[in-house]
């Protein structure tokens, strides 16, 4: 199989069935898939394409303005501030792509429970992996560990993927969009990617994986909708008084605070709050910051059991651990929070994936997992195209087999996360008690709970 051959012979192989010399030469400079951006999602796509016997015959390019990170933070040292929650579905994607081994514990931390509650003590939800018959609910890994594992895997697959960096996207020419005669007859026209260096690349499919401020999206003239939460997220690495196996999330008056286990007994705080509060928290010493986290987690009222619900079907509320400043860790940092979605994810010969297509509130740790689910869907669509002789950049294919299923999924996740956040904002009065009841009902109803849980874990 072509994918097994060393990289240099690929051009020759492609030439061997080309009819004329000139078309053979042209073939050589054409990529099947050109991925703009080798972040977590773009790299994951390249890895995943190499996993299936159908798609590993494609010629893939990854380009990024920055070099692909190849080195993880050393074990034993304090973890990086930026971490991601990986759902079992994402873990499966990485396993199949041969990249999981370098992300698996001890490089990441599994968690068995998830507990969500609010500051007013109005109710709680606690999920356990055991309830769904699974060993873990997910893993938390530093972004850098994920990146390095994917980067390492890609370097092992130079038989099928090329890298270009530093390479900055500057222009993009796609075939005409309007379904008129002219556009139809030209629908084989390849996309052209222009780089800042002046170099151009032709591709049958361009994938925009260049993050929230996607230049690909702009150049393709795709409209976006977005709003700012007028909030910032603060991330920090901390220690906990006892080993942590739970993803904790508490809704405070100002926004949600999450405490997630990371490797080597560390935990990660992601605290979303008002801009002013964020500025105050960011200026604190790590010790003072830990104190604030403890007040936020332990203060207020803890939920009482709802006497209306049967005891046997609900899991008990667990008190969160006390946190301490972690020695050797970087001090806490803040970043702006926003919601953003691209109206369309596809054009002829273009697909957007990851943050380029959608940015959600980091609330449920779903952000990057939505991107990994995009990857899975796109790989399936391309495998189908290869199998049935379809053009991998054909608009109809991208629309039906990638955009439409992903947009439905992402839109419901975006509204769910946005809705959840908004519902939790007001802390007093009727709304809060209704909400409290709602949470308790979820905790009590195992069917509903399992559904929500599976959804959050990406296995629904």
């Amino acid at each position: 199989m072509k994918g097994m051959l060393p990289h240099l012979s690929r051009g020759q192989l492609l030439c061997s069935y080309g009819r004329s010399l000139s078309s053979a030469a042209a073939l050589d400079s054409i990529y099947d898939v050109a991925i703009i951006g080798g972040g977590m999602v773009g790299s994951a796509l390249a890895c995943a394409l190499g996993r299936s016997p159908l798609t590993e015959g494609l010629r893939v390019l990854v380009l990024d303005r920055a070099p692909l990170p190849e080195v993880s933070t050393p074990l034993g040292e304090a973890p990086e501030l930026r971490v991601s929650t990986l759902t079992p579905a994402s873990v499966r994607l990485f396993s199949e792509a041969g990249a999981w081994d370098d992300m698996a514990p001890p490089r990441s931390a599994p968690f068995q429970h998830m507990q969500v509650w609010d500051f007013g003590g109005n109710g709680f939800v606690r999920y356990s992996a055991a309830t769904a018959g699974l060993p873990v609910m997910g893993y938390v890994a530093e972004n850098r560990v994920i990146q390095a594992a994917l980067g390492k895997r890609l370097k092992q697959r130079t038989d099928f993927v090329d890298f270009m960096s530093p390479a900055v996207l500057q222009s993009l020419t796609l075939p005409a969009y309007a379904p008129d005669i002219q556009a139809g007859v030209q629908s084989n026209t390849l996309a052209e990617v222009g780089l800042e260096s002046g170099q151009t690349i032709k591709a049958r499919l361009v994938v925009g994986a260049d993050g929230a401020r996607s230049r690909t999206r702009q150049l393709a003239d795709l409209r976006t909708f977005s709003w700012s939460y007028h909030q910032r997220g603060i991330v920090a690495t901390v220690r906990t008084e006892r080993p942590n196996d739970t993803a904790w999330q508490r809704f405070l008056g100002t926004g949600p605070l999450a405490l997630l286990p990371v490797r080597d007994g560390y935990s990660n705080v992601v605290w979303s709050t008002s801009v002013a509060e964020a500025a105050r928290l960011e200026a604190l010493t790590p010790q003072e910051f830990a104190l604030n986290v403890n007040q936020a987690l332990q203060g207020g009222s803890m939920p009482a059991r709802n006497p209306m619900l049967p005891r046997a079907s609900s899991e008990d509320f667990a008190p969160p651990p006390t946190v301490f400043a972690a020695e050797g860790a970087k001090t806490q940092q803040s970043f702006p929070l926003a919601l953003l979605g691209s109206g369309r994810y596809v054009r002829p010969r273009l697909a957007l994936i990851g943050d380029a297509a959608h940015v959600v509130h980091p609330l449920a740790g779903q952000g990057v997992n939505l991107g990994f689910a995009d990857v899975q869907q796109l790989v399936d669509a391309l495998a189908h195209a290869v199998e049935t002789g379809r053009d991998i950049g054909e608009l109809g294919l991208l629309q039906d087999m990638y955009e439409s299923p992903r947009q439905q999924e992402n839109a419901s996740m975006m509204t769910a996360l946005d809705g959840l956040k908004r519902v939790f904002e007001p802390q007093d009065g009727l709304l809060a008690s209704l909400r409290g009841l709602g949470l308790d009902m979820i905790n009590g109803s195992s069917v509903m709970k399992r559904q929500i849980m599976k959804y959050a874990m990406g296995i629904a």
Partner: protein, 291 residues
């Protein structure tokens, strides 16, 4: 041929019915067939004119050939599996048809030809409409991988047969219902196939339902196809098709109905062959001894 030329020639087709009886040298066609006369012509003059009116819209997925666009992946899978079976290849791989020669009779704008070329086949597409051929060649041109594996000729199956051409597989999709001499056409398909090779034909059955769906539904109510695209009396039943091809010396391997969901436009294989169906045949290898 340039894009402009292809388009302007296709715009003129309404008023010109000459192309069917004077095969013209095509964009990609360098074959001697193109220069030959209309001997063996089995396409009916009016049929050709009707199709030419559509030629320029072959590649618009929302245009009059939209149903062919949505059917294309399905017929491609069927042909892929049939050809792979005949040649002992693994079908669900990268370019399973690599290096096999395939003839697409009645290739139109090249939809089926391009899909087969993407599966690795070296495809010759022939059509009696010079316009369709130039549309096909123009379309293929933009992607070198497709261009290098597709060769289009303004010719009939009968003309190729006279040249003594042979292919590892011959496909004729949605074309036999427009042909005036079906037994002769079927004989050409078999004659053009190498011993041991496969033949794939898809068409519309002649049933009450096909009348309702293809004539009343698609042409008259939905406007999916221009009126007069099909003549129901010309439709061929699976039994008739099998008989014609087997008489010409190939054996039936398998068949399937193809059904479109009118709401999603999505096609699936089905046991129901009352409207669209596809059938595969194999030319026995022993015929090699007496060509």
């Amino acid at each position: 041929m340039s894009m402009g030329a292809a388009l302007s020639s296709s715009r003129g087709v309404h008023t010109s019915r000459r192309t069917h009886d004077v095969p013209q040298p095509s964009a990609a066609g360098t074959s001697a067939a193109a220069a030959q006369g209309p001997a063996g012509q089995s396409m009916d003059a009016q049929e050709v004119a009707k199709f030419e009116a559509m030629a320029s819209e072959w590649w618009d997925p929302d245009g009059p050939n939209g149903a062919l666009h949505t059917m294309n992946p399905l017929r491609t899978q069927f042909a892929r599996d049939a050809i792979c079976l005949a040649h002992g290849r693994e079908a669900r791989t990268v370019q399973p048809l690599r290096d096999l020669s395939v003839l697409d009779v009645g290739c139109g704008g090249g939809l089926f030809s391009e899909a087969l070329a993407r599966l690795g086949a070296d495809v010759t597409g022939v059509d009696t409409s010079a316009t369709a051929i130039s549309v096909a060649a123009t379309h293929a041109q933009a992607d070198p991988a497709v261009a290098s594996r597709t060769h289009y000729q303004n010719a009939t199956a009968e003309q190729l047969q006279q040249q003594g051409a042979h292919f590892d597989a011959v496909v004729a999709s949605e074309v036999i219902e427009h042909v005036s001499n079906v037994p002769e056409f079927c004989a050409s398909l078999v004659a053009l196939t190498r011993p041991g090779g496969s033949i794939v034909v898809s068409t519309i059955n002649r049933t009450n339902r096909s009348y309702a769906v293809a004539i009343v539904g698609a042409e008259q109510i939905m406007g999916l196809l221009p009126k007069g695209t099909h003549q129901w009396e010309r439709f061929i039943t699976p039994e008739e098709l099998q008989e014609h091809i087997e008489r010409a010396g190939a054996e039936r391997i398998g068949d399937s109905g193809m059904v479109m969901n009118p709401f999603t436009g999505h096609w699936t294989f089905s046991a129901d062959k009352a409207v669209n169906y596809i059938m595969s045949f194999r030319k026995p290898a022993e015929q090699q001894r007496n060509p």
